[in-house]
Symmetry: C2
Subunit: 470 residues, 2 copies
Amino acid sequence: MSKLKLLLCLLGIIFSVNTYAQNDAEVLKKIYKNALTNGKSYDWLNHLSNQIGGRLSGSLNAEKAVNYTKEELDKLGLDKVWLQPVMVPKWVRGFKEHAFIESEKGKTTTVNICALGGSVATAALGLKANVVEVKNFEELETLGKENIEGKIVFYNRPMQADLIDTFEAYGGCVNQRYKGAIEASKYGAAGVIVRSMNLRLDDFPHTGSMTYGDIPVTDRIPSAAISTNDAELLSTMLKLDKSIKFYFKQSCKQLKDVLSYNVIGQITGSEFPNEYMIVGGHLDSWDLGDGSHDDGAGVVQSMDVLRLLKESGITPKRSIRVVLFMNEENGLRGGKKYAEVAKQKGENHVFALESDAGGFTPRGFSFDCNDASFNQVLSWQPLFKPYLIHYFEKGHSGADVGPLKTETNVLAGLRPDSQRYFDHHHASNDTFDAVNKRELELGAATMTALVYLFDKYGVNPIINEKQIKK
Amino acid sequence: MSKLKLLLCLLGIIFSVNTYAQNDAEVLKKIYKNALTNGKSYDWLNHLSNQIGGRLSGSLNAEKAVNYTKEELDKLGLDKVWLQPVMVPKWVRGFKEHAFIESEKGKTTTVNICALGGSVATAALGLKANVVEVKNFEELETLGKENIEGKIVFYNRPMQADLIDTFEAYGGCVNQRYKGAIEASKYGAAGVIVRSMNLRLDDFPHTGSMTYGDIPVTDRIPSAAISTNDAELLSTMLKLDKSIKFYFKQSCKQLKDVLSYNVIGQITGSEFPNEYMIVGGHLDSWDLGDGSHDDGAGVVQSMDVLRLLKESGITPKRSIRVVLFMNEENGLRGGKKYAEVAKQKGENHVFALESDAGGFTPRGFSFDCNDASFNQVLSWQPLFKPYLIHYFEKGHSGADVGPLKTETNVLAGLRPDSQRYFDHHHASNDTFDAVNKRELELGAATMTALVYLFDKYGVNPIINEKQIKK
């Protein structure tokens, strides 16, 4: 932006009508105080994590989580709480995976792996083959069928450590996990091992979804993630001796789709009941840990938004819904179903906020919206400053709310501190003890504050379109 | 600030000469990249925490830490590395403390306590007495000698949970720990139990320094901290029955002062070798944990600042020193000694930066400096934005650098995210596993960036005094 443009923009802000009232600072203070001294999110998360546990779509635990969260929402005195049916995929891990590196006949080193979500099993006795290490799909092409056929492809491109936003580092690697099997299959690979999406060197394998595209069921190759420590080990051993073999055994399988539910609660708007604002996270999780950060945190924070609005004496003008989406991890069926039903009913969703980046200290939000709405948000920044909320950028909102996108509405994602997130993501150490109560509560308060402001001032009010237009 | 003033200020910023160069963004990028991909701080901390451990002043471990950090600084190829002698107090904990609540004769509940640093022991058989709970010193006065004499005073004012900055919450409570014994002694109390300075409810007692002022040694009463869970328990039991007794036994004692050292390393300035800029943390820690956050993190980050400057190809104009202070926790002798020697030698310390708030994700700095220097810092904010460094406020710098304050110099404190800090502070869970490698490294990079900018542009350059004056 040129200096003149910047000046005009600043003048616009300074001499425009204030876009928030003195009283808003008091309301935010009340919200944060309630969240930090009387929050419910941590207790709810304790139950979800420690009494229920991992909540993979279609599992008994997922069903328990649906029932538990519905019961808890029922207690909040909302105007309406209901379950929205949705058919979800059911994938089961089977027995604990087993793997080792065989440097010579009878000389093996056990390594930590886990099947990727959606993968097929190995043969009952497991798969043992030579290994070819690559960093990307281009290397596969260079190597060609003659060097890959019958071997296990080992994808070992690490997350880029010098990226400050760890989600960006994740985005730069995750195609190995998601599409690795499809690409390796083209060259006749027998199986796939992927370096875990983890910036830290440790022993936890991290699962996550993968796809076979339109590969016939009989031709699908088993795929697993290996811990970062063991990826380093395997890579080093391969450098010393290309003839070493890798063995793994897993019994996972895809079953028939089963019935599950999105859990929804609503405070009906006092002035514009047909304008919907939603806040949500996903109720399902992977099965290795208890899904505390991904996305138990988002679930309980979203539930607490409605409680905090009520307890802060706020009567929303618009209808505010909490939506606990089912099956974000391996299908996004809940998010798609919610948008589909909303469209069928002609519900006008003006705003949707998702929390699905962990229960860490909130830094702000990223917004998928037009300039008018984004400028409106920027005008609220001073209100958030006392809470050290400083990150307001355009960008990705969230997977579950994505299908609700229109030209005029606002989609947003809570952006917590991301440094520790991938230490736990999809791994057995995504557990309750890794969540800090205050950090979780600050997230709930920050979400509530944004919902409060958008409800009060509306999305795209005229003032912003006219006065703060770029 | 009025709108007109704000406008003038903004105009000043917009049309002033740029206060940093394009090239600075590249230098910062290099610094952060090196810290995140090639940082040394985490390995150093691993050694300090896991090979040495808690480093209470005067202990063998403190001596080991002096030797280890000097050796490591020697390896960095600095211009000079040396030890600065300083006499430090030596307090020893003795055997593990024991405590219980006795609700009736023979019916006891064990609770978690630890002696406060500097406390005297109880009698060899321990101290058992009735308990009087208070929230502050005013309540002591109201109760008076008749209600306090011979009893144990139980200070139970919790940290205020709705304060966003947990250090502010700490500041609002810590007088109970530091001066609790002096105040309780005035009314003839037999001992003092203080609720741990911890926002979380858990079982860890948190130690920390306390003073007896000029109370004669023979009249000093034993003082201990109790875990927050057990403070809640004790308080509840007291509400049910005021006649319950509290027992504790501790064998701590203050020995004679012993010789120790500040560890100092220097890169001599190429243009202004007699202008000193220092960066530091404190090498001593409490004895319960291994002092990873308090302040192993600050130590290794400060060491890494000099390494990062060198490895980024920066030739400082001014002399940059890393100072690892001894005895911050219970005496501040190192900080005082360093300032005393600097004064004797007439060394002009233009800048001092301390990291002593944990190894968590850095958010920015607080500054103890004049307006000209502060405006200079504010002009650099855009350089820090890619690293999510947003907090630049006037305020406290750090205990160890405090004695260096002059009218014109800049003292600064790194401000990491504070939410988890007091979960670990001075407790047995201040351990290496609570430190995240990336968060630690981001702190080191952020400190290096500030040192780089102040070295390049100097403290209080004319441009800022003239053009961005308020």
